[in-house]
């Protein structure tokens, strides 16, 4: 168990996991903790192990594939995803979802847009949503966590009390509440809602990481040498937190996709469907799910695959960075 002098608190397990990650940051320069060669950084040794970890490699492959598809989407997509090419084939009762035909391997959606193209181009929006949501929550958490961890004292207490409460509310509920309050739902309200939901995780992570490093040799040395607070934070402490942050970010990426899809399902997502996005495609497919389940299965499969990939990567990274799993 990690040291936690104040005893257990709300969101304890979640916090403990984050704290464990944060500890890893504090051990970067401490020679002797790493079992292999002394002086080799934690990250480097972790990477060496990861390269041979099959689970990690699978996750990495999926993620890289996803990124490539998103990057080259317009080139890969056979048609324009907003063009309602098969609209005249659509008959609301007898043929609401046109089936596959030459040139349209997966058929079309309910207004005649090519499904395959929508899936491919949809990866972009989906990537955007996850990345921005994670990024914003990271930056927000960074600001809060750094403030709390670096300054300590009453700032620390106030900020962390707030963060603790948010941590104890499950992320979907938080995202749901924020999205429900949006005056005009759009892609950005979804991103905002999810960022707010995951913000406390990063806040706590960074605060823990700051605290862990405050008393480490290199920081004390820098302070003794008269280096000011800000450069210490930015040049010494933050880079060492990189490892745990990456791990947490990958895990957040995974669940951000799912949460975005869940929000769309509940009707809180982006109503404008001209630019495709997987979660929104899944939500819109609910109406046809009885007779045309493929409309939902395809985006669901993509979401599941990507979330799975991120999760595999994140979990392997976490295990690799965790000093206790050194055997």
């Amino acid at each position: 168990m990690t040291d936690n002098p104040k005893g257990w608190k709300p969101g304890a397990r979640r916090k403990a996991k984050i704290d464990a990650l944060a500890q890893a940051a504090g051990q970067v320069q401490d020679a002797g903790t790493v079992a292999d060669t002394p002086g080799v950084s934690l990250i480097a040794s972790a990477w060496r192990r990861l390269r041979r970890d099959r689970v990690f490699l699978i996750g990495l492959t999926i993620t890289v594939l996803f990124l490539l598809v998103a990057l080259f989407a317009p080139l890969l997509a056979p048609h324009d995803p907003t063009a309602r090419l098969l609209l005249d084939k659509v008959r609301p009762q007898s043929n609401p979802i046109p089936g596959p035909e030459p040139g349209f391997p997966l058929g079309a959606d309910n207004v005649g847009r090519d499904l395959l193209s929508r899936l491919i181009v949809g990866s972009r929006q989906t990537l955007l949503v996850c990345v921005f949501a994670t990024l914003f929550s990271l930056i927000g958490g960074l600001i809060l966590g750094t403030l709390a961890g670096a300054f300590g004292g009453w700032i620390d207490s106030v900020v962390m009390r707030f963060v603790d409460i948010m941590l104890s509310i499950p992320s979907l509920l938080l995202a749901f509440s924020v999205a429900a309050m949006a005056a005009r739902p759009s892609q950005w309200t979804v991103i905002l809602a999810i960022s707010i939901a995951y913000l406390p995780i990063f806040a706590r992570l960074l605060r823990g990481s700051m605290l862990a490093q405050r008393h480490s040799d290199h920081v004390l040395a820098a302070r003794a040498l008269g280096v000011k607070q800000a450069p210490i934070i930015f040049r010494h402490m933050l880079p060492n937190s990189l490892g745990p942050v990456i791990v947490q970010a990958t895990l957040v990426l995974a669940t951000a996709v799912i949460d975005a899809a869940a929000l769309s399902f509940l009707g809180l997502g982006n109503p404008d469907d001209r630019q495709p996005e997987w979660g929104q495609m899944l939500g819109a497919a609910q109406k046809y799910i009885y007779d045309y389940p493929h409309l939902a299965f395809y985006p669901a499969a993509c979401i599941i695959l990507v979330a799975f990939g991120f999760t595999l990567m994140g979990e392997s990274l976490r295990e690799a960075l965790d000093p206790k799993s050194r055997r």
Partner: protein, 335 residues
């Protein structure tokens, strides 16, 4: 211990106050809302104005909040305008609460009954096919969107095969209600068919809801057991020649289970999020479905009550877990 509990409860009250104020202000600033929902497409600017005045929605925000607070302190949180129109919002919470509790109970039960033994076995057979397979299965459980899984289960088992009911909590039988926990009521009044019927309605939603807690409990148990298995005292016991069973039971499991208990307690709190989706798909009349419905009807009275009640529930559940943990873990106690 007592001071700890009291302090936490006071904090909770403070948090609820702030939360209610924030919710109140935010909701009232949104366009549309109650007046639109009540009048619908029949509204004219005059009728809108009239209704706004009659409901006191044209008064300054602080006046409205003060009135709301005064009423709330007497337990009156307003009437629902969408979920169950005309019914007291807090009453809706009371009505629906047992449903979600019952559902969560069975979901956690499934998660525990499957998660702990499987986690233990996976740890014992570390790096085997069984271990890797079960880790991957549990990860998939987290990756599949809950509502999608709910639909799949519903489609196959309820519609296509017809083994289980499609939605709701109970069929049209005249069951006697005692505690509003349908299964329990059926057992208490000896109406076995009512209990069995309610139970059948719970199976699919509970399975859906249990996937995420199962995954978490499974992994925590596995990790925890692995940790303990590696501890010195286990190796010592093994070297002493004690049979595996004794080591397992007395030493490994008991120590490994501590963090699992905390996790279980925390998962209970997290079930509400999954409940929103699961209950919506199965039309299960619990808190989750009420939240989703209140949102789509812009039923602010109910939204407010449910969000605050949920927050309070989390805090209380966490408090109970912390207290339990302190009681169970000798290390914490002797601090």
């Amino acid at each position: 211990m007592l001071r700890f509990i009291v302090r936490r409860l006071l904090q909770m009250v403070g948090v609820l106050f702030v939360l209610s104020l924030l919710l109140f202000i935010w909701l009232r600033m949104l366009p549309g809302g109650t007046v639109s929902a009540i009048l619908g497409d029949r509204a004219t600017p005059e009728s809108r104005e009239r209704l706004t005045k009659a409901l006191g929605l044209d008064e300054p925000l602080y006046v409205q909040y003060w009135r709301y607070l005064k009423r709330a302190l007497t337990g009156n949180f307003g009437a629902s305008t969408g979920v169950v129109p005309g019914r007291d919002a807090f009453q809706i919470f009371i009505d629906r609460f047992p449903a979600t509790i019952e559902l969560s109970f069975f979901a956690i039960l499934i998660a525990i009954l499957l998660g702990i033994p499987l986690g233990y076995l996976a740890a014992r057979r570390r790096a085997s096919l069984f271990d890797n397979a079960s880790v991957i299965v549990s990860l998939i459980g987290v990756a599949v969107p809950v509502f999608f899984l709910a639909f799949l289960l519903k489609y196959f088992f309820a519609v296509k095969l017809g083994w289980l009911p499609v939605s709701g909590r109970q069929s049209n039988i005249d069951a006697t209600r005692v505690t509003n926990f349908f299964v329990l009521d059926g057992l208490m009044t000896r109406e076995w068919d009512a209990a069995w019927d309610a139970f059948k309605h719970l199976i699919l939603p509970a399975i859906t809801l249990s996937t995420i807690p199962f995954a978490v409990i499974f992994r925590i148990t596995r990790a925890s057991v692995l940790e303990v298995l590696d501890e010195d005292f286990v190796r010592t016991a093994e070297s002493k020649g004690l049979t595996n069973r004794i080591i397992r039971g007395r030493h490994v499991l008991r120590n490994a289970l501590l963090p699992v208990i905390t996790t279980v307690g925390l998962q209970v709190g997290g079930l509400l999020a999954g409940a929103i989706l699961t209950e919506s798909v199965f039309s299960f009349p619990g808190i989750g479905e009420a939240l989703a419905s209140a949102f789509s009807h812009r039923d602010y009275a109910v939204l407010q009550v449910l969000i605050m009640a949920s927050a309070a529930t989390f805090v209380i559940v966490n408090l109970i877990v912390d207290v339990l943990y302190a009681v169970v873990d000798p290390r914490v106690r002797t601090r």
